[in-house]
């Protein structure tokens, strides 16, 4: 009897932990929707901020986030897919080289995002950008300062492991028989990868891309000093322009704005937009990944 009661108490304690997590998820969603929904309108999405950012919309922040993640995707996805192909197809399980690459990818995944920001500042802006100015621009400051290009590349580095992990997982679900069939028909290894392995792992590549976009759209720390701007009256026109981003907009509006209470509706609505964006991207990725895993079984 005593044992049974202990069982029930402890079992329900574990259940309560799960409920607590679910409760927190739901309350974050509910409070953001409750605070943001009334202020969310078509106009809010396509207008520039007005009156010292106390009114108006978040159009430049949406466009900035979209452009930044686009450049980031162009840089990160090919890199990630190729590295994943190497790890899944070429690397021998026990080679030191492959193990080192795996460790490097894991390190990139756990390094705090603010370190990427420092790296972007020290490497992209301070080293590459300033030297580009010296060589091509005659010392005129153009690339040696924060810009959307450097922010996107910094973010690409941060999201690289996300792409690598999901693509490698997808490649590994392709049955060995398919590779063998292709090789037996006389195809070379590279032809097999191009015609059999990569088309077969398209879903995985898509999952990785979506996860990377969702991560990149939400991260703020890496772009704090590599390209995000407080307010711009115009959209970025070239790669050397600064940009506004949704996450950074939330951060500055809620902590550095001169009148936090007056802009509360804007803050909630911006948070809702960002949350809906990352939430739906993640939901799609979870469904896609679930499908890949099911197919593998």
């Amino acid at each position: 009897m005593n044992r049974n009661r202990k069982d029930i108490i402890i079992e329900s304690l574990t259940g309560i932990s799960v409920l607590l997590i679910i409760f927190i998820i739901i309350s974050i969603l509910a409070i953001t929707i409750k605070g943001g929904w009334p202020n969310l309108s078509w106009k809010f999405l396509i207008e520039f901020p007005k009156d010292g950012m106390t009114k108006g919309g978040i159009f430049p922040a949406i466009v900035g986030t979209a452009l930044m993640t686009l450049i980031m995707t162009i840089a990160a996805v090919p890199f990630g897919v190729i590295t994943a192909v190497y790890l899944a197809e070429y690397a021998k399980e026990n080679s030191v080289f492959a193990k080192t690459i795996r460790f490097a990818v894991k390190t990139l995944a756990v390094v705090p995002s603010i370190i990427f920001g420092l790296f972007g500042l020290g490497f992209f802006i301070g080293f590459i950008g300033q030297n580009m100015d010296k060589i091509f621009n005659g010392g005129v400051l153009k690339w040696g300062q924060p810009s959307i290009l450097w922010a996107s590349l910094t973010m690409a580095l941060l999201t690289l492991p996300v792409v690598i992990v999901s693509v490698e997982e997808a490649i590994r679900t392709i049955p060995v028989e398919m590779r063998e069939a292709s090789l037996a028909l006389g195809a070379t290894k590279w032809q097999t990868i191009r015609r059999v392995v990569l088309p077969g792992s398209l879903t995985g590549i898509l999952t990785g891309t979506i996860l990377a976009i969702s991560r990149g759209a939400g991260e703020v720390a890496p772009i704090l000093f590599t390209g995000a701007a407080y307010y711009l009256s115009d959209l970025p026109h070239s790669l050397s322009d600064q940009f506004m981003s949704l996450g950074y907009h939330i951060y500055i509006m809620s902590t550095q704005s001169s009148n936090v209470d007056a802009t509360l509706p804007i803050q909630f609505a911006t948070t809702l937009v960002l949350l809906l964006l990352t939430f739906s991207l993640n939901a799609i990725a979870v469904i896609l990944r679930y499908r890949i895993r099911k197919k593998a079984k």
Partner: protein
Amino acid sequence: MLSRKGRGDKSGDSQVSFAGEKFRFSDWFAERFIKTVAFMSIAFVALIFIFVFREAFPVFRMDVKQKIGSVDLVQEKYGEEEVTPATANPVSGSAIKVSKPSSTLLSNIWMPVSDNPRYGLIPLFFGTLKVTIIALLFAAPIAILAAIYTSMFAKPWIREIIKPAIELLAGFPSVVIGFFALMVLATVFQDIFGYASRLNSFVGGFAMSLAAIPVIYTITEDALTAVPKTYIEASLGLGASRRQTAFNVVLPAAVPGIFAAVILGLGRIFGETMIALMATGNAALTSINPFESVRTLSATIGAEMAEVVFGDTHYSVLFLIGSLLFIFTFALNAISEFYFKNLVIRKYQSKK
């Protein structure tokens, strides 16, 4: 003899990997190219090391003279009146005793913008440690218990709901969690506990635990699921209850994996920037009271980097903080990767 050797060379391992009979440039090139790109991941980690340290290194070489120069620069910017004599005669006119930047690193005061700037990292370390402990005290038990429930007690269809739901929490941007903490949690906790400063290490720690829970949960769940089914069946077969099996058989077997999970969660909390910036209050205090503000290492970088002069002492000190954060997370990752993974492998290999 000779011909056999030749044949062996040709068809050596052609069953699967197809060591081609004739040289094909496209294949040779593809392999080289793919290998080179894969190598870049290692290069990136090395570059991060080099460039974060490179900017931090000057701290140890800067002396007082350089220091005065940058004090003037800062003061000029703010245009305060009392420093005018110092500006006029920077070397001898300064009445304040200015300390060498590297000698202040271990002091108790973080005051980077003042007449006598002091870069004491102790309060920042203290603040980071305090928030980390608070966050881990929330995150570790909740995440581990939830993982036990999911892998041991939950019905399959419930498991299929819980796992993706917690994965979604991992997808919440930290700025959203920070905003939630700043706007909602801070007020709720203040109403409950009635403390003075609205933003403090307790609010920040709790919010950071939300970022760490998915990390700890996912890895713990994997570790629990990796425990061989035969253990569970044997225990249940001997008449133990599911609870006894979970806590006395499965949990001990998964301990190395759970440790690795907690260590990775620790790394996540330690480096968290946006939540720290938004919810901990950002005052560099060293009080044990959990309801006092703190300033963490990463939040200091995030808050101050945008306002420093490129190449200044303050700039270098912030990079030094970054280097320390990097070394710390790198070490944590190495420990969880090599030490604990080996433990897990050895454990199951010897018994399977």
